[in-house]
């Protein structure tokens, strides 16, 4: 014969179990980070930061002058490093409110077109260090019009469009 004693205790037990599981679930999920780190939010911010910094560098101080970025590219021979770029870009991106600086690393390069065969050459402008395996970088770019011999063997300097590309990452 089926015994119907203790049905209420069973139901109460289930209710208590549910409440305990839910409480545990809430507590555990509340103390963990809601949005995981691998969600591109920091990438988006880093890319925007780099884009803003390049835009500042590509803006002339006054009408008729050339921008710092254009000057940097024009005075730097193709294939050589330019420390001015690193200093300016580093200052713009690593500044923080208060003391200390941020730890943003970058590799900057310039792409230009070879007029003879429409191939694209790229050379490094400046970098803080090399990108190590496993580090996650974002890319930000800026078009600049420069008056330069591109490629260096070109007979004369003329207005050219080059693309400044910067890989940025935080270590």
């Amino acid at each position: 014969m089926v015994n119907t004693d203790g049905q209420l205790y069973t139901i109460e037990g289930f209710a208590a179990g549910l409440i305990m599981i839910m409480t545990a679930y809430l507590v555990v999920s509340a103390t963990s980070v809601y949005t995981a780190g691998d969600t591109h939010i920091s990438d988006m911010q880093l890319e925007q930061l780099g884009s803003d910094a390049l835009k500042i560098m590509a803006t002339p101080a006054s009408t008729g002058e050339i921008s710092p970025l254009q000057k940097i590219i024009e005075v730097t021979p193709v294939g050589t490093d330019n420390a001015t770029f690193g200093k300016m870009f580093g200052n713009l991106t690593n500044s923080k409110t208060g003391f200390g600086t941020d730890h943003i690393q970058f590799i900057a390069s310039v792409s230009y077109r070879n007029k003879t065969d429409d191939s694209v050459s790229i050379y490094r402008l400046n970098s803080t260090r090399n990108l190590a395996g496993g580090e996650h970088a974002v890319r930000t770019t800026k078009w600049v019009i420069v008056n330069k011999k591109l490629p260096p063997s070109a007979p004369f300097a003329e207005d050219r469009a080059v693309l400044v590309e910067v890989l940025m990452w935080r270590d």
């Binding site: 109460e12 890319e47 694209v120 078009w143």
Partner: protein, 121 residues
């Protein structure tokens, strides 16, 4: 057989209701974790900075001497380095009649297509 004790059924019902409401709250919190991810991904995917930069460099350099070379530079480098098909044409001002410059800009990176007819001030 002992009489079934049916006291406090109201309390048990409330216990059930509260348990289930916790369950649905947990579902909502669970869903909220992916909101920031999809937002950031769609922001990154949309080439806002690329398009602004492209339009900026084209429209601020309409009066250069060798616009043909610059045009090829932008077209070729966009394709090679930015995976974007870019075509644009410029119309220079025709002073006595028309003092404006015009640019017709087309951008397509496979995901986003952008077309702009620009007129100088």
């Amino acid at each position: 057989m002992a009489r079934l004790n049916d006291d406090a059924q109201w309390i048990i019902l409330m216990g059930f209701l509260i348990s289930f409401s916790f369950f649905f709250l947990a579902l909502i919190i669970n869903q909220s974790t992916v909101v920031g991810q999809t937002t950031a991904e769609s922001v990154i995917e949309f080439p806002k900075n690329d398009i602004r930069d492209l339009v900026g460099v084209i429209t601020t350099n309409t009066s250069r001497s060798n616009t043909t070379v610059v045009n090829s530079d932008i077209t070729v480098i966009s394709l090679h380095r930015k995976n974007a098909v870019v075509r644009y044409s410029l119309i220079q001002p025709n002073p006595p009649v028309d003092l404006h410059s015009y640019a017709s800009i087309h951008y397509n990176n496979g995901v986003t297509t952008y077309y702009e007819n620009w007129t100088s001030l």
